[in-house]
């Protein structure tokens, strides 16, 4: 006689042990699945600022952050120093990059955008990024670099997990102060190029064109009306009295 287990006809006592083995295997598998699920849950991204509720838009960041507010008092080293990694296009170390490697290690995509920079720990941000300190966010709102770019290691803005990556910039950075910021809103160019510079024609063409268009209108108005009005004033001084009278 016997029982049918997995398509095989086997004897009764033997069938019980086989069944128990199958059950144990299933239990083990489900335990692993559960563990994987828990691991997966812990690996979720952090809560974005856009997902919380807040009343004040302007003072919000300063109210909520845990910090002394003195950002430049300490500098930490980037996590890994890789002496052979250099700036793409600049040959450094024993093996310069192939085009593929350069594409991978390009500085706007690194987990630590400053990796490999010599004496990095002794430098302040504006030593290299002078122009980036001359915008409204820095000058008027008194923001420091770290309030948006974060602590060390500072991820490149296009690194996949960077808070400043355009896919999450609005939620992770902008909405700290500008509650409700959208992705479109976050495409505002914080470190805007100087609109008057010819290089802006390459980096932000519409800004350059509109700037010079408006300047042309303003300067044109004054080129016409300033000499015109001065000449008019002078002419009226020398206008004969009898002509003014009647």
């Amino acid at each position: 006689m016997g029982t049918l287990v997995h398509g095989k006809r086997i004897h009764e006592p033997e069938a019980i042990t086989v069944r128990m083995r199958v059950m144990r295997r299933g239990l083990k598998r489900s335990l692993w699945t559960l563990l994987a699920l828990i691991m997966g849950l812990t690996a979720q991204p952090l809560i974005a600022s856009a997902q919380e509720e807040a009343g004040s838009a302007m003072r919000r960041y300063r109210e909520r952050e845990f910090s002394t507010g003195y950002y430049e008092e300490y500098e930490a080293k980037p996590i890994r120093q890789r002496p052979l990694v250099g700036v793409p296009g600049v040959s450094e170390g024993l093996f310069p990059y192939s085009p593929t490697a350069a594409a991978v290690r390009i500085r706007t995509r690194l987990a630590d955008s400053h990796q490999g920079i010599k004496f990095y720990e002794n430098l302040s941000c504006d030593y290299c990024h002078m122009r980036e300190t001359k915008d409204i966010h820095t000058v008027r709102a008194n923001l420091t670099c770290r309030q948006c770019h974060g602590g060390e290691p500072i991820a490149s803005i296009n690194h996949y997990y960077s808070p400043l990556n355009p896919i999450r910039r609005h939620a992770y950075v902008c909405s700290k102060c500008h509650a409700g910021a959208s992705a479109s809103y976050a495409s505002y160019v914080v470190h805007a190029p100087n609109p008057a510079m010819i290089s802006t024609l390459q980096t932000f063409p519409l800004l350059f064109i509109v700037f010079w268009g408006m300047v042309a209108i303003a300067v044109g108005t004054f080129l016409v009306f300033l000499p015109h009005t001065i000449a008019w004033g002078i002419r009226e001084i020398s206008m004969r009295k009898e002509k003014t009278a009647k």
Partner: protein
């Protein structure tokens, strides 16, 4: 030259004068609050901002007054629609009483410049000189430009739903340059023509008193006076000069506005190298 003492010719209605007054006050407020923020890094800007209650308060006032100006502009559009004689819209729009520029204005402009250099006799104007038409259209173009970019910048969360966020960078520069142009034009050209040229010195009271000196009008705008005399309207438009007390008020107010403007102009020019543009 009427023996009755009516020596001035009516030029602006009460409504027009009230609108000019509102425009003056709001324009100066916008100029002062805007420059307060633009120059906040300098003592000039800090002083201006403190007058309005600080950096944030200056912006709040700037936004409210800006919305007020947009409303004023919309009311003015309604006023235009009502005051145009649509049954004879051609003569109403392009006639001598209209502010719409015509080829004749370009001719008068060139003649006027030739007269500055003594080449020909002074051109004789009708009701509106080309410089007055330019002043009008400068505001007519300026308010929508500043108003639209201003609204975009004041409500960035809403405006970036329909435009990309980098449009804010562009709107900011349009707003700034147009505002500088408007202020420089009013504080230099408009004030010079209205106050300092010999015919008007010390001040053209037309926009406050509502009337102009008949002698001056018949010298500078003879076609207008002749047209009024021809159609028999001249007699009814003659008014006496206002009382000395009111005249003093006009002068004090006009000069106060001019001083505010010149203060903003000089402060802005002197401090321009010391700000982050």
């Amino acid at each position: 030259m009427k023996p009755s003492g009516k020596i001035r010719l009516k030029r602006f209605s009460v409504g027009q004068r009230i609108f000019h007054l509102l425009l003056m006050l709001s324009f100066l407020t916008q100029g002062a609050t805007g420059l307060a923020r633009m120059y906040i890094e300098t003592d000039f800007g800090k002083g201006l901002a403190s007058f309005f209650g600080g950096y944030e308060r200056a912006l709040a006032i700037h936004k409210y007054v800006g919305i007020l100006m947009i409303c004023g502009f919309l009311v003015h559009l309604l006023y235009l629609i009502v005051s145009i004689d649509w049954s004879q819209y051609k003569s109403s729009l392009f006639g001598p009483d209209s502010l719409i520029p015509t080829p004749g204005d370009a001719r008068e402009f060139i003649h006027h410049i030739c007269w500055f250099f003594g080449l020909i006799r002074a051109p004789r104007f009708d009701r509106w000189g080309y410089w007055e038409k330019f002043d009008y259209w400068a505001v007519f173009w300026g308010i929508p430009i500043l108003g639209i970019t201003g609204l975009i910048l004041a409500y960035p969360l809403i405006s970036t739903r329909v435009m990309p966020g980098w449009g804010l960078n562009i709107a900011f520069w349009i707003h700034r340059i147009e505002a500088i142009l408007a202020m420089a034009h009013v504080f230099i050209i408009h004030f010079f023509i209205g106050h300092l040229r010999r015919t008007n010195f010390p001040m053209d009271r037309a926009m406050f008193e509502g009337s102009v000196d008949l002698d001056v009008a018949s010298h500078e705008k003879p076609f207008w006076v002749a047209r009024l005399a021809q159609t028999g309207k001249l007699e009814g438009m003659l008014v006496p000069e206002s009382k000395p007390g009111r005249r003093i008020l006009f002068y004090v107010f006009g000069y106060a506005a001019m001083m505010v403007g010149v203060f903003l102009l000089i402060g802005g020019l002197v401090n321009s190298p010391y700000i982050t543009w």
